[in-house]
Amino acid sequence: MNNTKSKYWLVFGMGLLTFLFLLHLMAWEWNFSFFSDDVILHSIRIPRSLATLFCGLLLAVSGLLLQILFSNPLAGPSILGISSGASLGVALAVILGVGSLGTSVSALIGAFIYTLLLIFSMRFVKSSISLLLVGIMLSSFTVAFIDILQVYAQEARLKYFILWGMGSLQQVNTSELYWFAFAAVVVILFSIYISKDLTVYSQGEEFATHLGVNIRRLRWFIIGITAIAVAVTTAFCGPISFIGIAVPNMVRILLNTTNSMKLLVGCLIFGPALLLLCDGLILLLDNYFILPINSMTALFGAPFIIWIILKQLK
């Protein structure tokens, strides 16, 4: 009974995703042909649509993993400060002037260190709200540090960094898309690999140990996977907020299950769908005003998070 309902949602999500992807690719132009040998299509639209797709799924999956790891529905890459760890890495890389690959590696190290810091602080703070406060403090500390770095940066690099910080899905080039695709494959495969452990782990850490789950190994997997996902998206598209926290919660409510495999598939479908919708709206309004992607995701995400907090406090 429950199963068929969640299957309908997944099929519906697939349809929605396809529709939104095509709409995004067409950029709301109805006299559009996929077979034309168009420069704009190949060098601008296809990379942007694919980047949005990859970003959406990477952020949603990392959010899901973090929420299970911290057993906290309010966890997510941006709210826990992992994105700002990646941002710090990017800031350092940009100011030092290393290339695209260097930026990604630097973001990866930043994200990894910040996730480790969170795990470490979890030993001392038990309540979910305190953990969020630690995350928020971590990000404001980082923002301050980045601000200081900016004072000493050269003009051109500063401009690049500021634009990057607003978050944008349109600057991704083809070679970066390969990195995106590679990260997506790695993240999806490893998430499927640990999905059974995740299902049992979501019922409590002690429960999972007693059933034979290797907790330490599972934690390292989650940290590694989320660090890759957050680092790649942050390095190429800037810190995109709210997708990571909103989508897993949405999927959990729609599918009504703890089965991590189903939740994972849900995140892979609805994550890109939501981000394609947000970026699609930006494309639609493009002629009138230019919006950064973060303001769009926040418009959807912020009310949603307030709703979850209110539901939790009840």
């Binding site: 009974m1 429950n2 499927i192 690999y193 640990i194 999905s195 059974k196 452990d197 299902t199 049992v200 979501s202 019922q203 409590g204 002690e206 429960f207 140990t209 007693h210 059933l211 034979g212 789950v213 290797n214 959990r252 009504n256 299950t257 703890t258 089965n259």
Partner: protein, 237 residues
Amino acid sequence: MIQFNHYKVSVDNHFLFEVENFSIEKGNVYYLIGKNGVGKSTFLKSIINFEDKTEGIIIDRILKQKLKQKELAQKIAYVPSKVTLNNFTSVEDFLLMGRYPYGSPFSGFNVEDKKRLEDVIQLLEINDIRFKFMHQLSDGQQQLISIGRALVQEVDYLLLDEPTAFLDYYNKKRIFNLVEELSREKKMGIAIVSHDIDYLLKQSKCIFYVDSSTKKLLLLEQPFATNFENIIEKIYQ
């Protein structure tokens, strides 16, 4: 058979009590009683804890240290006094988690897993609540499902940590009867930590207690129904 030879129970390097000579045999039920904080729950958890390498436990003639984590979970299951609730876990999903030690990362649930689930649902007569969510159930039902999960896990030994702590008299009797039935018919070896001394004494069960002066696990000698006050004094001093 789980054998204990001079097994020392400790928490964070703090010695609690010693289990000199005790064994959990298939087809028997053992009740453990004692003061709060004496370390009964710690004892049960340390048996199932894979990372606890303390010497002195032999499980089915194999040293515990030689078993892999999943092998241990295929032999012994631990049932806490209250399950951790997750608002999105249905009864069926919860029961199927018991199949985790038998699965591999990419495999789904096979025919045997499904059959095992159906058997347990039949045995516990819970067909009407199988699609409900865990948090919607009463404490008694939750406890029943929690034991059901251990049965789906197909273990030989069951460790129950105060299974009746949150239950009313009717459900208490139901759980105790179920436990006796499982040991009789499924030939499971069961150890139960309990505080229902008066109930257990009335039924003259096989009771062990932690003696706080010698710090040892001892058998409560029979016949004991004659002098209840003495026993209470002996255990709780």
